[in-house]
């Protein structure tokens, strides 16, 4: 059973070819746009690579870039094919090319849709990567003299100021980590010695945050140290003070930023996917309509175009058979030969 049969008189074929040529050039521009969007996303992710623990999320921009480049090629050939389609002399040379072309094009178009789905689905992976990365960043904040970690302080400070956030979940993460290096602690002072002794691991923990957590919107000068001690500051209540430092955690801020970016890009890529799909569908109709004309004397007759010759399942099996045979997953031919050889021997 043929899928989606449509009649194509000569004028309709001509209009289809012309429309398809224009559409394929639009789709080429759209493919370049997809590539650019992939590059943009990758650049943004790499800018904050120091606070990400792994690069799993990079599969989204990588896929977008591959699909963008592929779609440039696909649409270039689509425009060339539809240019030759109306010329009965030139169209037959594309005959052998079209089957693998459609297979590859469908694959990359589906990949485009997959990348959009992935960008939504990988939110959890991004969040856990940021959680681990920020935890390390805060832990190594004080190690500005250790090679490999000396830029953590700068990165975390700039991050907190730019994204208006403090700590991993919130500012209390700074209370659990020693973020003041031992090099700048006077171990001769009683206060320092007491604090270090009262801690199980011998760390110098304070209820204070770095200056980069300070909120410029606060009406009073920033209070960084003794945050939980109301009596240490005049007219200060720890529980009701909202504007002094940033209350939002950096993980939430970064996830929000990247999901917003990926949502915008996803919406754009989805519309490009629809455009690309329509190009392929139109090309298929044009191909089948023109194949019916081949060999006939009168090229202006009405022909039928269809999407798939057999049903959906049969077509998929038809395409997958060579692939499976290549991977030797279906040794149908060899099994049958063996059985035929055995049978005559079995019969005495």
């Amino acid at each position: 059973m043929v899928v989606m049969k449509m009649k194509f008189p000569f004028q309709k074929r001509v209009k289809l070819a012309q429309g398809l040529w224009l559409l394929s050039w639009c789709a080429t521009v759209a493919g370049a746009t997809t590539f650019t969007l992939g590059c943009l996303l990758k650049t943004e992710l790499r800018r904050r690579a120091e606070v990400m623990d792994n690069t799993d999320i990079h599969v989204v921009p990588n896929t977008l870039m591959i699909v963008g480049l592929a779609s440039l090629g696909i649409n270039y050939f689509a425009s060339k094919i539809c240019q030759d389609a109306l010329d009965a002399g030139r169209f037959p040379r594309w005959k052998n090319f079209l089957k693998p072309y459609f297979a590859v094009s469908c694959f990359f178009t589906v990949l485009m849709l997959l990348s959009v789905i992935m960008s939504y689905a990988m939110k959890g992976s991004l969040e856990s990567s940021l959680k681990a990365g920020l935890r390390n960043g805060i832990r190594f904040y004080k190690d500005t003299d250790t090679p490999g970690r000396c830029f953590q302080k700068q990165n975390i400070d700039r991050l907190q100021m730019e994204f208006e956030c403090c700590g991993n979940n919130d500012f209390r993460d700074w209370f659990e980590v020693q973020w003041i290096s031992n090099r700048y602690l006077d171990f001769g002072s009683k206060e320092v010695k007491d604090r270090v002794k009262s801690n199980v691991d011998g760390r110098y923990l304070v209820d204070g945050v770095p200056f980069s957590c300070c909120n410029p919107r606060s009406p009073r000068p920033c209070i960084q140290y003794h945050l939980t001690n109301n009596s240490a500051h005049y007219n200060y209540d720890y529980l009701t003070e909202e504007l002094n430092i940033y209350l939002r955690g950096c993980r939430e801020a970064l996830v929000h930023y990247y999901m917003g970016l990926m949502n915008t890009i996803g919406a754009g890529v989805l519309s490009i996917f629809i455009l690309q799909g329509s190009v392929l569908v139109s090309l298929r109709f044009l191909q089948t309509a023109m194949e019916a004309v081949a060999g006939k004397e009168n090229t202006e007759i009405e022909t039928e175009g269809y999407l798939l010759e057999k049903g959906v399942k049969d077509t998929i099996m038809e395409y997958l058979d060579p692939v499976l045979k290549f991977f030797l997953l279906k040794n149908g031919g060899k099994v049958e030969e063996g059985a035929a050889a055995d049978k005559p021997a079995a019969v005495p």
Binding site: L185, P216, P221, Y234, N235
Partner: protein, 360 residues
């Protein structure tokens, strides 16, 4: 003795008209660029306008915007005129407009040059404006409860973070003003009362800076208090002190930022001015060539084009005479060819006498 006389054949005239049409359309684009640059500069100045004492600097982007709009209009009209100038018949439509158009374009081109020079020379005015504006902002940093000044703290903090600067000339400017409001000072504490008493004007001055002066490049947590006493902090050596806060003053940082923008803009405007001058010269040649063709009477013949009909001195003198005689009409001169009826002449003399009597 004309200035810049060139002979044009019919083909050359048509080609000149075509080329000028194209150049005029390119000029419309450059006019749009001029407009865009003016808007960009206006936005940049308005972003930080609270630290500028007066808005006098805004005349530069306004000039650029006006000139840009004028450029678009004048060159659009010029394109239309030049397209018609290829044909002698169509030129007659524009004949009377051409001369005023050329004069207008000349003055407008001078405006572009003035705009470019203004951009280049704005530095000293801007520096003065920034010095006063920053001092005012720092003085009222603490007044976050006073309407009209409540945003100054936030703006100054964001400025210092964004431009990586501290204070007006340097971080020590903060030692000379009270930037902590009385609302947050415990006036019952002895330390606070002592400090207030020690100051002549009763201000609470400290050798400390706001958090926005802190540099993230410092290897140690930021030290904001007791900056004049390095020994109060453990291991606070010279290098630590150097990296601890931003060393640059905000006036210098903002001045550098705006100088770069204005110098690039003035360079582009100068290039646009040269291009406009080229277009103006071409239009003048086309105008004079077409007028001479009409004077000769034969549309197919060669004609001469020039920039000025007579030498520069003669043209200046004749223009000066025209301006001098602009207000005076019905001059009674002794030209025998003009038939001045006797009554009108007498009325003229009578009215002059009455005026003389009135003024004396």
């Amino acid at each position: 003795m004309s200035v810049g006389k060139v002979t044009f054949t019919k083909v050359e005239r048509e080609k000149l008209a075509e080329v000028l049409w194209l150049l005029n359309w390119i000029s419309v684009v450059t006019g749009a660029i001029l407009l865009g640059m003016g808007l960009f500069l206006k936005m940049e100045i308005q972003k930080w306008q609270e630290v500028m004492s007066e808005q006098g600097v805004l005349y530069v982007p306004h000039m650029l915007i006006t000139t840009g709009l004028a450029a678009c209009g004048i060159n659009f009209l010029g394109g239309k005129i030049c397209l018609d100038c290829a044909d002698t018949n169509k030129f007659l439509r524009w004949k009377l407009v051409m001369m005023p158009y050329v004069i207008c374009t000349f003055f407008f081109t001078a405006c572009i040059l003035a705009g470019a020079l203004m951009c280049y020379n704005i530095r000293s005015e801007l520096e003065e404006s920034l010095f006063l504006g920053l001092r005012y902002s720092m003085l009222y940093y603490k007044d976050t409860d006073t309407p009209g000044r409540c945003y100054l703290k936030r703006m100054l903090d964001l400025l210092q973070i964004h431009f990586q600067c501290c204070g007006n000339t340097g971080y020590k400017d903060w030692f000379q003003i009270q930037w902590i409001s009385y609302r947050y000072l415990d006036l019952r504490s002895m330390a606070v009362v002592d400090r207030l008493r020690n100051n002549v004007e009763g201000k609470f001055l400290m050798d400390s800076v706001p958090f926005s002066c802190c540099s993230p490049l410092s290897p140690r947590p930021c030290i904001q208090q007791q900056l004049n006493r390095p020994l109060a902090h453990f291991n606070f050596d010279q290098q630590s002190q150097h990296l601890n806060l931003w060393r640059k003053g905000c006036r210098q940082a903002l001045l550098d930022h705006y100088t770069i923008i204005m110098q690039s803009i003035s360079l582009i405007v100068l290039l646009i001015w040269l291009f406009e001058l080229l277009v103006l010269t071409g239009v003048r040649y086309l105008q004079t060539a077409m007028e001479n063709v009409i004077r000769v009477g034969d549309p197919e013949s060669e004609s001469e084009g020039w920039i000025l009909e007579n030498s520069l001195a003669e043209t200046a003198r004749s223009n000066f005479n025209i301006i001098k005689n602009l207000g005076k009409c019905y001059q009674v001169d002794n030209d025998p060819n003009i038939n001045v009826p006797a009554m009108i002449a007498e009325q003229e003399i009578h009215s002059e006498q009455v005026q003389v009597q009135r003024t004396s």
